[in-house]
């Protein structure tokens, strides 16, 4: 990657002032603390949890997307040799339901099931196969009901209500600017997004260990320990301190571990049997066991002047939330508030709905509502450019948001918003060489070694897109993170110990915390305690927020520790604390240089501080969707170059160029890793990834049939990382994880459109769509002419 800094990092980096920077501090590509165990196979993932006396749990799930439960008979299951417990809703000691935002989902269904795969009963047995067979021996009688699987039907007042509150999980209305503005040119189309799966590799799993006095310890992979604990305590009827959760190794998350999976179930089984209980989903069960990215239908009308200034955006967005609320309300808010894109849009009229259906529940996935909207608004920008006979990048540049832009919710963008620069950079990035004519290497062609083509019908296309994402939690949520930092010198060397509950899910927040501690205290030896619930909450590893939030908490706690150390040193020396700083294990004086070794100064004392960090408050949206709902924004742009076999509809992504403002790259290698990994998921959504749900049933719950990009599908990535510094965050950081997945998808689609001349209004684009065998564009717009 090339790194560019076109403006200074806004907040000055706090002391240590001068002196040699500590090894592995902020701004370096410090190695991950969990790297060595991970490459040696010694890192303990949640699926590796083991106890000599443990039992295995299994889940009985509904085969119907919508049904009434007439009876549940567990007699035969209990008779299986080796079975220790079979539990139903009757055994839920506390609150019978759970949920991230509203507890609308039964822990175990009692009267009605609302999606295929809904848990109804649990089994614990000595061997996992015994547990599975006993699960099959739980007899359930159903009265099968007609499933509601079309969100538009669900919205119809005449349709049966799937929940007492009705079928609308949330409706957001945004009215901004003039109610009826006039435009010279109008572009209208409807877009569809299929259901994407997070497809983390580490299955849902964990080990629940009863403590013998009614409480339980749970070792689990999750994104937010404390919100898990809240829900667990309520449903287990235990006090929060009786439920202790430790983060076990997490094999990827991407949003899919925000909701509970095995947590309550494994604890119920452990408390009943008084034995440790391990639960682990198979890949098939995993497709039923976590929420997915919302499928969406997005109708847009863009109006512009003849010279290409946006006049208005009108949109109606419908998100299929599936059977339970999960985080649909927040996804709906993101989609609605970000749905005009990173552009100056003076007038906007938006209605965004999240609805209940009998499809699998949908919730968080990386990009969280911004992904679906970006595909649609960027497709609209291309459509509008075609109508205006303008270059699509030129149209975007003309309308690009910048610092001070007011979004459709009336919020002024305070930090850097370098949309024009990002777009220019990707547009001007060097292009890959043209596909080799003559005797091409078939491995470089669409279809690869399947030998589908020798290049006859292969056309190249280039597409661009920009996008943006809110960082941290929004709409007035009390978003905070907690950190405890301890400085001591146990063996004559200073050591800093950091303790938070932040979930390391692969993204690198463990590394970042240690880097911050090293820099702030000038101590290289930094260790991280396991994340658990014995410390205050860090909030979720979501919304690209952990570097900002938990990073901010670690930094603040380090500052408190440093202040105490320096004031002690100042007292001893008769100096002013302001004249002293810490560097590489030494107490330094501005005047005299090294005055103390930190270890000597500390002696046997332990200096410890616990601090909470909060970002600036946000506010809820009013009835017209107005409000400063977001704490900050991150921006990225992508250019995709594709080769398309226009006869077979096969696509090879040749190259991706991206530019992204990350505020400050605390760990440049980890930043690149987030960018590259996010782009892979964006390419997946554009070209292959869809949970196919027919009549409420997932038809492809396996990696055989749900395809994610392999090493053959992933192009080289040229990342241009800008570090413009956000004024509101520690070190000026912005979240990194989500923007790469947002605008990469529409860039690929635009490139395929350019190669084929087809409208391609639905993602993922299937070979039939690309080859023109289906016209899946829901709107009546004629496909665009090839460029």
């Amino acid at each position: 990657m090339s790194r560019a800094s076109t403006a200074p990092v806004a907040p000055p980096v706090a002391p240590p002032k001068e002196g040699v920077p500590v090894q592995g501090g902020v701004g370096t590509s410090a190695l991950r603390p969990d790297g060595v165990p991970k490459v040696k196979g010694e890192f303990a993932y949640s699926s590796d949890m083991w106890d000599e006396h443990m039992l295995w749990g299994a889940t009985v799930r509904s085969p119907h997307p919508h049904a009434c439960i007439v009876s549940i008979d567990i007699t035969d299951a209990l008779k299986h040799p080796g079975v220790h417990a079979v539990l139903t809703h009757e055994d839920v000691a506390g609150r019978k339901t759970f949920g991230l935002e509203r507890p609308d989902q039964p822990v175990l269904a009692s009267e009605r099931v609302r999606y295929r795969g809904e848990p109804i009963a649990l089994v614990a047995a000595a061997h996992p196969e015994t547990a599975r067979r006993a699960a099959e021996a739980v007899h359930i009688d159903y009265e099968v009901l007609q499933p509601v699987t079309d969100p538009e039907v669900a919205l119809d007042a005449a349709t049966v209500a799937l929940h007492p509150s009705g079928n609308v999980v949330r409706h957001i209305h945004i009215a901004h600017g003039e109610p009826d503005p006039e435009a010279d040119v109008v572009a209208e189309a409807t877009y569809e997004v299929g259901m994407q799966d997070q497809a983390f590799l580490g299955p849902e799993s964990g080990l629940a260990v009863p403590d013998g006095s009614g409480g339980v310890d749970l070792y689990v992979s999750t994104q937010w320990l404390h919100v898990d604990r809240e829900q667990l305590a309520a449903s287990l009827a235990l006090a929060p301190e009786e439920v202790r959760i430790t983060l076990a190794g997490v094999g990827g998350a991407f949003g899919a571990r925000e909701d509970l999976s095995i947590q309550i179930h494994s604890c119920m089984l452990a408390l009943t049997t008084n034995r440790p209980v391990k639960m682990m989903y198979s890949r098939e069960e995993s497709f039923y066991g976590h929420v997915h990215r919302h499928p969406a239908r997005l109708n847009y009308i863009h109006g512009a002047t003849t010279s290409g200034e946006l006049v208005f955006v009108k949109a109606r967005l419908v998100f299929d939330g599936g059977a339970y609320a999960s985080s649909s309300t927040a996804v709906c808010a993101n989609a609605a508030t970000l749905c005009c894109g990173p552009y100056e849009v003076p007038n906007a009229l938006i209605d965004c709905y999240a609805v209940y259906t009998n499809n699998p529940p949908c919730g968080a996935m990386r990009g969280f509502g911004a992904v679906q909207a970006c595909f649609a608004y960027e497709s609209q920008m291309d459509l509008l450019a075609a109508k205006l006979a303008m270059d699509p990048v030129e149209l975007r540049l003309r309308n690009a948001a910048s610092t001070g832009t007011v979004t459709p919710t009336g919020q002024k963008i305070e930090g850097p918003a370098p949309v024009a620069e990002l777009l220019t950079r990707v547009r001007d990035a060097p292009l890959p060489p043209p596909g080799s004519p003559g005797t091409p290497d078939i491995r470089e062609l669409p279809g690869g070694v399947s030998n589908a083509t020798h290049g006859e019908a292969v056309r190249r296309g280039i597409g661009h897109a920009a996008g943006y994402k809110n960082i941290c939690y929004s709409e007035g949520f009390d978003d905070y993170a907690t950190a405890r930092v301890r400085l001591s010198a146990p063996a004559g060397e200073p050591v800093v110990e950091v303790h938070t509950a932040a979930a390391e899910v692969g993204q690198g927040v463990a590394t970042i915390q240690l880097q911050i501690a090293r820099t702030e205290l000038g101590v290289e030896a930094a260790v991280l305690r396991p994340a658990d619930t014995s410390i205050g909450s860090s909030g979720s590893s979501s919304a690209s927020r952990q570097t900002w939030m938990t990073g901010g908490a670690v930094k603040t706690a380090c500052e408190a520790v440093r202040e105490r150390v320096l004031s002690t040193a100042a007292e001893v020396l008769g100096a002013e604390p302001g004249e002293l700083y810490l560097s590489n294990g030494l107490v330094m004086s501005l005047e005299l240089g090294a005055v103390y070794s930190l270890a000597e100064l500390l002696g046997d004392t332990v200096v410890e501080a616990t601090r909470e960090y909060r970002h600036a408050p946000t506010s809820p949206l009013d009835a017209n969707g107005q409000g400063n709902a977001h704490a900050g924004f991150a921006f990225a742009a992508h250019r995709a170059v594709v080769d398309v076999d226009v006869e077979l509809g096969l696509v090879k992504v040749v190259d991706i160029a991206t530019a992204q403002d990350v505020g400050m790259a605390l760990n440049p290698q980890a930043v690149e890793g987030q960018i590259e990994g996010g782009i892979a998921q964006g390419i997946g959504l554009a070209l292959m990834e869809e949970v196919q749900v027919i009549d409420g049933v997932i038809r492809n719950p396996s990696f055989t049939d749900y395809l994610i990009p392999t090493s053959l599908d992933m192009p080289p990535v040229h990342a241009d990382v800008l570090e413009l510094g956000d004024p509101g965050s520690p070190y000026g950081v912005k979240g990194v994880g989500e923007p790469p997945v947002i605008s990469s998808t529409p860039a690929v689609v635009a490139a395929v459109r350019a190669a084929t001349g087809r409208a391609l209004r639905r993602i993922p684009m299937r070979p039939d769509d690309v080859a023109g065998l289906t016209d899946r564009s829901p709107a009546g717009e004629a496909p665009r002419e090839p460029r």
């Binding site: 061997h127 580490g202 998350a253 890949r283 396996s702 990696f703």
Partner: protein, 156 residues
Amino acid sequence: MQLNLEVNGQVLQADDVWAGESLLYVLRERLGCPGSKNACEQGECGSCSVYLDGTLVCSCLVLAAQAEGRAVVTVEGLAGAGLLHPVQEAFLAAGAVQCGFCTPGLIVATHDLIARNPAPSDPEIREALAGNLCRCTGYVKILDAVRLAAEKAATS
């Protein structure tokens, strides 16, 4: 049934094995070698890759009984205790590890690739690792790691 097999040079025994158990399950749950991973258990992801008598296999697709009397090498056995194999070092240095769930399988597969082909070209690397899914990295740094490991092997 009882099973005897050699794992990373040690002869190990597992008792009461159910006939339906895979080699992966026995390694992970009975023999204390959870390094090989279980992302799909149907031969699609490569996270369970091990050597069986020197051949790279998906251990989830091998019945444990088929491994009776044979030699298995897992990611845990590529380097001595406290040591790193150059392939492992390369994955660390290149930043090819995020959540790391794919890493054990990729390291064994890369080990095998470089043994067969000490200087693999880019398309050869991509082809050889196409059976190992990674959801975090987008493969860019994994390819870097393989190139780095091949260079290290060539110069050592």
